[in-house]
Each structure stands twice: as structure tokens, then as C-alpha cells.
Symmetry: C2
Subunit: 419 residues, 2 copies
């Protein structure tokens, strides 16, 4: 154990040292390494796939659920997609060095706020090996060193990925230590990692609610909380019901396993008699199980009763809680009470109620007449996404390159002293 | 204890409820309350001063150090200054509602990023009662509810201040519960406060290194770390030594008890023989005790030896560590190793070394040819300051009104669904 903690600290210290060099590296090297890593991934895909087979075999032996095996599994196409992801990040503009603001003070001091890297970013994630290359690409593009701590079930895959991409990056001038994997999956080591404030500037957990809660509770390093989404769509009185059905189906069904999927549908009581049977038919056709409040069940006999747990659940599955409400204010109260401040939508034709919903609902993204599924760095046009923040500090909503940076104030004087 | 924790949770819940109303309140009420609170402070100054006398008597009885008594003590002038502070915040532009960015996507979605309040801000502070009104004013201006937890030694003063300003704010339309003091000073209650993620959005500790460390270690609520400053001034080869002496004296002496004061002076070995005696004379005239590295002591015989502790110390006092370095790179390494990423200055006439210092030093504010003492919300022209962040997330450097806000994405559609 002591050895493993020593190794962790050694890697973290090396990452901090690398970050000093990264911070003063120009755009060219940071960009070239993305192409070099993509090339290496393509050339050495078989090495990664072999390692992935080891993980898959071990996972099957341990009887891990199918969904997890699917997340863990790599193939040629997935590796090609990972390489393309790196190439796409290469093409994005460099946020580092941007002058965010600049002004001159009456005493002659020239102050500018300049965008700089965070330093060392710790990524704590679960079974998807693609996070290894995605996160590394985004961190290096923004001049950050990255410490990766993936799930134990993906250890061989992650190790192979780092063994392929890190030398490729170092070859073009990225300082050694910029990309490191914490290979032990011991929980005590993970705990220590989350408290290495002297070496790690930010932690970003990527995974389920349990992982995120653990990181938030354990870390003393600042955390960007990502991803838990108990999202709602509210069908207002007078809504265009055709749009409402299409949006509800899209928000639930287009990818039920992600955080921006709808988990609870709220329906105004005036629309419920017509809307509920229509939406239920469309959703059930897609295999969605409905759970309803008493009023919903009166109109949709045979569906299961929704309990308090259903209002708080992030199903990430083809299950949907449905509640009939008396109006906008009840919908807003329900969302502010049970929501996770992720993505919330109103379907309405009413101008004032749309505005009221947008201002009164406390969430990273609020929508009128469209699907919560759009909360996504690519859909927003950022060209990248390191996660979706559901906290209010630093970043809120989809996080692109800019959210992997901080700023520093540069102050130029000619002898000024403070009175 | 259970009662006190219940009371804490009750107050936090009330603050969260109030924050919902605050979030949709217009500029006018948020501004008027600042004038109303200032008026009430002036009218009821005697009530506050009486309570302050109780705190002072208790503190004197407990034998608290003079410096602490001075921080604790209020008088007519200080109360007038607190009222003026509120009036100054009244005059600042309202950051809430600002559109930070807005764009239209190819699918027709209109996305805008809008500035909104954080929600509930917890302020954990020590003996200065003026934080009570300063923080409340800044929080209400930015539409946040505030939960105040001051030091036990200032309890009577803080209670009187809240009893004066809160009713004045509520009178003009601020929702009840927006300004609350956690009156118990029990540590277990404080610990629970730092973990009330469901009610408190952000914690801002204001005080010494010990307080800040405790909050960072204990909190699960996101924290903005403020204030610890082990700041350096580096005198480069070829610096204008007259400016260098004036800046060094200003950085050390103008207010030694604050976080932006210089704690270590680094001097290029070529300048040391001339510069050290000059600066030592000027500093010793101001009562500064010097502690030096061996090379420094060779040139300034009789000063105490600087130990490893001196390089890490935030003295907040008329003490200064001095080190002779071989050049810029040693200075940068020393700063990045021992500094607290607060404020760092180079005194130089060399263009390239100035640029190298600005990019290689990792700190919230980096200076050329001026004093570290300028790291301050008022000196930067923000018109306000809730603290100086030394972390990299959310805010870095002096924090004004904008740093007490977050953003939300508002997305307007007309039926779009995600493919």
C-alpha cells in the first residue's frame, strides 16, 4: 500500500512538473501531439484491441452485466472514432493565451486577464476506455497535464491506450509526465489522489451517480461535478401537442442511458386527457415503461404507480415517471424540488409562461419547445465535451475547451506603489 | 446538538427557498435594499456598538491578543464606512441578466448563456464584523441568499448587525430568509453546514490559513478558496534599483497583515551587493525584521538565518525572508515551489525576462515593476471585493460581483428533436 501511494505521489509530482513546461508551450506542439496520438492509435490498434480482449474476458468471467461489457468493448471502428476525435480537437481554435479582458487604471497600471491552463487535471472514470483518449486530447490541447484513473475492469485497455498515445505525444515535444495512468485500482489510493491538492488542480469525475458522489464527498481537490440528470419535460396548457409528443419521445427514447434524457414528464391537467393517451401510445411503442401519479393512472389504467423514488430517479433506462400538474407553478416547484439542475424543458405556445419557466427553473440548461437531449458540447457547437457540469462554480452545462482553462491577471507597471 | 443542527438545516432550507424568489427579482429591489440597509445601519449604530462592547468585554476577559481585539472593534466611523460600502455597491452595475454569449445553431436552436445568481452563498469568517454587511451587500446585489457564520468572538456584533440590516432589506421586498446568521459556534454545526449540498451552492471562507484549510478539508459544498498569500518580489539583474527599493518597501510595509503583502524577497546575485544594503536600510527603518539565506547573510551580517519554514511562511507581519538567486529561472522555480499562487512580481528592465516571468510563474496575479499590494478588487477597479481567490476554478484573483454569479443556458426552439 505504501508503495502504491508513493507511486501515486511520484506520478502526481511528475504531472505537476510537466504542467509547468506545458504552460509555456506554444500552440503548435500542443496541436501536433493530437495528430501524433491519432496516428499512433491507428497504427497500434491491434495492441489496444488485444489488451481490451483481456479486460473483456476477465469481465465476462466475473459475470459483469451486458451493458457494462458493451461500454468496455473496443473494436476497429471505435478506435478509429477515438482517433477521429483527437483530429477533431486538433482543428479547434486554441483557447490558451486569449485575452479575456484588458484595461488601464487611472494610476497607469495595465491589467489584462489572460486564459491559461489549469495545470494538472485528474480524471476519475468508469468503464469506457474512450475517455482515456478523449480526456487526454482535451487536456493537452488546453496545456494541462492529465492524471487518469479509470475503472479496474478497463485497466488493460487503458494501460495499452496510454502506452500507445503517451510516447507519440512525447515524441513531438510534450513533456514527459503529461499523460499518466494511475494503474492501481485500490480505493485508498483513489482517496489519496482526490486529496493531493499540492499536485492536482482539478478533479473531473466521469461516470454514474455513485462515482460522482464519492468524489464530491472524498475530494479536497476542487471538483467539477458532472452528469447526473433527472431531467423533466413540462407540457403546458395550450402546447402544440404534436410537437409535444415528438419532443417527449425524443427526450426519452433517442438515448435513454445518458444524463440529458428525460426521466419525468409533467403534463398540465387541461391537456392530460388528450395528450397522455397519445404520448403513452408513442412511448410504449418504443418499449418505455410508464409510472404515473394517481391522476395519470386514472387516464392510463394499468400503468404502475409512481412513488417518491420515481420522482428522484435517474433511470437511464426505458422507464418514465409521469405526473399531472395544475399549472406552471406546480411544474416549476416539482422541477426545483426533484431535479438535478441539469436540463429542463417546457413545451408551450404562451410567451409569458415560457419566460417564467426560463427564469424560475434552476438548471444548467432550460429549453422551450425542444428536447433536453441537446445539452451536449457538440450539439451546442463547442466541438468537444469533457463532461456536463451540474454545479454552479466555474462551469455549468456542457464543458468544452474553455472550461479546461483558468485565467491569470497580468499587471504591467512602471514603478507604481499602493498608497 | 440535534436542536442546533435542526435549526441550521431549517435556516439553510429557508435560504434556499428565499433564493428562488431572489433569482427572479428585478434590479430595482436588489438595489434598493442596499440603500435601506445602509440607512438602517446609520440609524441604529448605537444598537450595534452596544453589542460590540459585549464582544469586546468578553474578548478582553478571555485575554485575546490585541490584533484580534482591533479587528473585532467597531466605532461610529467603522459603521459609517460599512454603510458607505453598501451604498457603493448600490452604484455598481447589475451583473445579473447579462447575456455572456448568444448564437444560433444550424438546426435553428437559439442558445444564449445568461448570467444568474449562484443561489445560496455560505460565508464562513472570523473576527471582523464588517464582513457581515460587506458580504450581505454583495450577495443581495447579485441575487443570492446569504448564510453567515462568523467567529464566536463576534457573535453579539454579528447578531446585532443582522437584526438591523435584515428587516430593512425585507421591508423593501427582499424575501425573508435571504439574510441569516448561524448563531451557534459549535464546530459540529459548522461541519454540517459545510456539507449541506442540497441547500448551499457555494462556500466562501474569509480568514486565516487555518480556517481556509479546515473549510477545504471539511466541505463537500464547492468552496472558493481565498486569501493565503506567500507573495514574492524578484529583483532581476539590471533592475532600476530605486524603483526596486520603493516597490519592495511598499509590498512589505504598506499593510503587512494582508494576503497581498510580500513575504519573500528574491534578489539576483549581480544586484545583491548594491541592492541588499539599500533595501535593508529602508526596511529596517520601517521596523522590518529580515531573515536571509547564507549569501544574503554574508552581505547583511547580523540578520537571522532563513530556514525552510521561512520560505513557506505567510508572516502577515513585519518580517521578510530574503534570498539571493543566480537568475530568473531559480527565482521562478522558488516561487512555483513555495508560493501560494497569489501575487508575484518581477522588477526588471529586460523585456524577454519580464515576459518569461509572466508566463512561467503560476499565480493569480503576476506583476512587472509594481507592487503585489495591488491585488485587490478596488485597486483592479471592480468597485467591490468578496475575497481573493487563490484557486483555479471559477474565479482567480480578486473577486467582484461577477464572481458571485453563475450562468445558465437558455435554448429556444420550435420543435427540434435530436437525431
Amino acid at each position: 500500500m505504501t508503495t502504491e501511494i508513493n507511486l501515486l505521489e511520484q506520478k502526481a509530482r511528475a504531472a505537476k512538473r510537466a504542467s509547468r513546461t506545458l504552460a509555456v508551450l506554444g500552440t503548435r506542439v500542443r496541436n501536433e501531439c493530437l495528430l501524433a496520438m491519432a496516428r499512433a492509435l491507428r497504427e497500434k490498434a491491434s495492441q489496444v484491441l488485444e489488451a481490451n480482449q483481456e479486460d473483456l474476458a476477465a469481465a465476462a468471467e466475473r459475470g459483469l452485466p451486458k451493458a457494462m461489457l458493451k461500454r468496455l468493448e473496443l473494436d476497429e471502428a471505435k478506435i478509429a472514432a477515438m482517433a477521429e476525435g483527437l483530429e477533431a480537437v486538433y482543428k479547434l481554435p486554441d483557447p490558451i493565451g486569449e485575452t479575456v479582458a484588458a484595461w488601464k487604471r487611472p494610476n497607469g497600471l495595465e491589467i489584462s486577464q489572460v486564459r491559461v491552463p489549469l495545470g494538472v487535471v485528474g480524471i476519475i472514470y468508469e468503464s469506457r476506455p474512450n475517455v482515456t483518449t478523449d480526456a487526454t486530447g482535451l487536456c493537452l490541447k488546453t496545456g494541462n497535464a492529465v492524471l487518469l484513473r479509470g475503472g479496474s475492469e478497463a485497466l488493460h485497455s487503458n494501460r495499452a491506450l496510454v502506452e500507445v498515445i503517451a510516447p507519440a505525444a512525447y515524441e513531438v515535444g510534450i513533456p514527459e509526465g503529461s499523460i499518466q495512468l494511475i494503474e492501481t485500482t485500490d480505493r485508498e489510493v483513489a482517496r489519496r489522489m482526490m486529496q493531493l491538492n499540492q499536485y492536482i488542480d482539478v478533479l473531473i469525475p466521469r461516470g454514474g451517480a455513485g462515482l460522482i458522489e464519492t468524489v464530491v464527498k472524498t475530494a479536497t481537490v476542487p471538483v467539477i461535478e458532472t452528469g447526473v440528470g433527472n431531467c423533466h419535460v413540462y407540457i403546458d396548457e395550450g402546447a402544440d401537442l404534436e410537437k409535444a409528443v415528438a419532443i417527449a419521445v425524443n427526450a426519452k427514447v433517442s438515448n435513454p442511458s445518458v444524463c440529458n434524457a428525460m426521466e419525468t414528464l409533467l403534463v398540465h391537467e387541461e391537456e392530460a386527457p388528450e395528450f397522455l393517451p397519445r404520448v403513452a401510445e408513442a412511448l410504449e411503442k418504443e418499449g418505455v415503461e410508464l409510472r404515473g401519479c394517481p391522476k395519470t393512472r386514472a387516464m392510463l389504467p394499468g400503468i404502475r404507480e409512481a412513488t417518491e423514488e420515481d420522482w428522484t430517479a435517474e433511470y437511464l433506462d426505458l422507464v418514465l415517471a409521469v405526473k399531472v400538474v395544475t399549472g406552471l407553478e406546480e411544474a416549476v416547484d416539482h422541477i426545483n424540488r426533484y431535479g438535478t439542475r441539469h436540463s429542463e424543458a417546457i413545451i408551450t405556445e404562451n410567451y409569458s409562461r415560457a419566460r417564467r419557466f426560463l427564469s424560475a427553473v434552476d438548471a444548467a440548461a432550460v429549453y422551450v419547445n425542444t428536447s433536453t437531449r441537446f445539452t451536449d458540447g457538440f450539439e451546442f457547437g463547442f466541438g468537444a465535451e469533457i463532461g456536463i457540469s451540474t454545479q454552479k462554480l466555474h462551469a455549468r452545462g456542457p464543458m468544452g475547451l474553455k472550461e479546461l482553462t483558468t485565467t491569470k491577471y497580468v499587471v504591467l507597471g512602471d514603478g507604481q506603489v499602493r498608497g
